[in-house]
Symmetry: D2
Subunit: 293 residues, 4 copies
């Protein structure tokens, strides 16, 4: 199968279920809201060694307080850990940021993290409860203005590990292709790319060092194509992977499709593939060829 003349490998991405929480950060101005969202979602590429997986979802079209805002996602395996991590990020990066507020960002939540409910104690008795546009919020005094934070923030089962792999005749092609793909994906509400662009894929365990849990996935490294059992075809000198987490399986599929179509518009791209662990980790599979039927 080809998209815009570029070969799409007959393979699949392996999708895990994880818990995702989505919240809205608003602030007095666009730049304050965006800077806060950036800081709050840093160091969140993968739960292998990051405290949780995170990403900026999208700019909000409308917000409860009519101020500019960004939706943010945080991901972890279970809701307890997720609550702890979201609490830490909101407490350290949003509560402390000028003029911000936090609202629930999920309409179809399966459950709720008690964020405002616990964070309110920071107010040391000066906090106040309020109904605000049908939401239950706490107002915690700050030095600039009250921090408004919704009592609970919804979470649900999300779908992590959507991905595709771009192989190109040189590094600049792979890089611009990946960039253009991520731009297109980021226009879709409900998905995030926890890694901006992945330059280093991993495999489980290690061939050589038994003490390692994860190591280089040498099968996608162009310079090793002649010395290992490689997935890299001749003529490919650079490879990037795009990783996508989304609120539904359909959103992940749509993001993969749009991403691949955009990636294939860039000159020098040779082949699109996807990463999986032979089905050992994820419950779901997204076959690349099915995206284009």
């Amino acid at each position: 199968m080809k998209v815009n003349g570029i070969e799409i490998v007959d393979t699949y991405a392996e999708i895990c279920e994880m818990k995702v929480c989505r919240f809205l950060i608003t602030a007095l101005s666009e730049d304050l809201a965006y800077e806060c969202a950036l800081k709050t979602t840093g160091f969140g590429t993968s739960i292998i060694m990051c405290p949780c997986e995170t990403g900026i979802d999208c700019r909000a079209k409308e917000t409860p307080d009519e101020r500019p805002g960004y939706y943010v996602q945080a991901w972890h395996c279970d809701e307890k850990t997720l609550e702890r991590q979201v609490m830490a990020r909101i407490g350290q990066c949003v509560l402390t940021h000028p003029t911000t507020a936090v609202f629930n960002g999920l309409e179809d939540a399966e459950g709720y993290l008690e964020i405002g409910k616990k964070l309110r104690y920071f107010g040391d008795g000066f906090e106040e409860f309020e109904e605000f546009g049908g939401r239950r919020v706490w107002k915690i005094p700050r030095m600039d203005m009250d921090f408004v934070v919704e009592e609970t923030i919804g979470y649900k089962t999300g779908f992590a590990g959507g991905n595709f792999i771009i192989m190109a005749e040189n590094l600049p092609s792979a890089l611009i292709s990946a960039k253009v793909a991520v731009e297109a994906i980021n226009k879709i509400e409900g998905v995030v790319t926890p890694f901006p662009i992945v330059s280093s894929g991993s495999k489980v365990g290690s061939r050589k060092y038994s003490f390692l849990k994860a190591s280089l996935n040498e099968r996608f490294v162009p310079k090793l194509r002649d010395v290992v059992d490689s997935e890299v075809p001749e003529g490919v000198k650079a490879v990037y992977e795009i990783v996508i987490n989304g609120l539904s399986l359909d959103l992940v599929k749509r993001a993969m499709k749009v991403g691949i179509e955009s990636a294939c518009r860039v000159e020098g791209v040779v082949r699109i593939s996807a990463g999986n662990y032979g089905g050992k980790f994820g419950k779901h599979r997204i076959h690349l060829h099915e995206l284009f039927k």
Copy 2:
């Protein structure tokens, strides 16, 4: 004492010693290097609930591989924790980012974190050692190009908790004053502001909730000035704090001085103060008045 007509309170910032590690992230282009530095330093405002304190120090004027680069700082109480945290951030946010490399960024290190030395195992036997411009580096194969990472990254005793507090007649004044101050501070090499701007100060413990380790510092909250023992003078409606960590006590002093001078250029600023814990936590004190002698 007054600076540009604005009262400087006769008080001091309390400075703790912590361990700081400084490294250089380079990449093929300016935006790749900066985006990586941003992601790597997210979720790093305070070790109260963040894994470590972090900040972008400055753009590098020159780099070992002649590519654009940014110096980044990471802070923690002891070198063991710091090594673990720096390893996680470099492993998750730099190794995985397109075209990046990492070099030591301290010339006067007291000791070294074994970053490249340990990270190299990720290469699963395909990693290679090299002398590069007098540096000992490991080259770990990636999908786009080798990740070059220096064997060890220096750390030293740094000085954390430099700060000053801006009090203004309204929120926009306090906000622009803080922003202009941070811009001026960020031009100084060797210091970082782990919080962009602090809108919510804390005190140790809590008056009301005995289970809390830290809570609102109500003494700096304008709206509570009539109900608590307040530091907020009449006419002040908004307050921000700037927090500064630096490689030397002199750098922290210089950053506080430059920051205060810039803050005082903004209309509507009424008073500059500083935060301390009565000397219980920090070994060092920086008196505001001494900065302007």
Copy 3:
């Protein structure tokens, strides 16, 4: 009348009819499209001394070539001058910019500027005509790829000079209020703010220098309030004006309303007014009070 507690003066903005042309710039990636739109719309605040009035309208949700794109507006008094100016800007700033294309951006045009039709001669015989998604375009060879430019670009009668004036108790309040207002206005498709924010209003002619066509409008300068017949109330120390051009009178009204509502959310704003020339210049009037009925 008050909005969020802030006085709205019972006055009006005076609106002129001008010719506006709207075109779409697309490119391979978001940043290329945006950088091109920025360069193309520079030096375009007012036809008093700029070659035409310009502004970035909005990011396109969809584009004919499925690439990222920005709508741009250009304004002048008559279509001949407008055609010359648009030709110069597209020829100098878009044709020469990497990977760009230009399409008509008006669905209800009154007439058409012959842009592609004339620019195609630059191709020196190597240009080719094509139907592209129902559009008539010329493909002019470039060093990176063909420049695709639509044969004609629509123009229509637009409405220029929408405005409101923010008066605040200090400069930072006026500045953040203006910034927040412009951010809100820029979310509305079909309007532009040719000046980012206006710090210097003019009046026709001069009191003192007879050779001047335009000079300072001293009535809105806070520091002159005691020496001239001033519009500035006591307690106001800074004033900004927001100027809005739009594709329809309704769009200008909507932008003024949204802008004023946003401006009034900022602390320290004292009064909102508007600028006019007593009805001498514009055919239309937008009364502030009517916006909030």
Copy 4:
């Protein structure tokens, strides 16, 4: 001759003398200064159809008023036209921008444009003269604060048309190579790139349309290599040109050298050349090979 393995053609860039004026724009904050510099330098790629050539030179390390600032350059053939154009840009884009000031930015001027001296009449009698740090400035009242503008702005003979041409095996390579080159050039104080990156070179006159002054330079268009007398070697699919104007011939040389070295670091670049008109236009020649002796 080769640089990093890439062929440098034995040719030269042809340099014209033009008049260049350099001024400093300062503002209350970094973003205000930068936004103003951007707007002021838009629509200024080439005097073929732009009112003048312009560019942001660099961020100022120090400024007379200690605020953030950017140096800007404007270019034209003679000082009269240059004065008119600089007056229009400062009057329309800087005077009107919040909190800005303008200072002379040339230490070794050959002559002076009367900018503040003429612009001051806009103050309609309310303007005031002042000595400010050894500079003669006019303070023109504005709605936010006085506009401070130096009485005269220096100009000198500058050197325009420095250039080199990047040829690559595909468009992404050429694009990233050009981008990396421009980033490196922009770190050099005293030079500007009036075009961000040039995708469309011109020749004087036209082969086919006698009424044209300039048309496509088909010799550098990859897709025409088989049908014209082409400069494009086999295997090259995309070409970009970088154009450099500088305050001295040495600065232009240094920028070309640094730019070429950076460009040659990018994978997929095949050849570096330069553009000239056989010596018909420019007094000076910069031979590529001499840069690397």
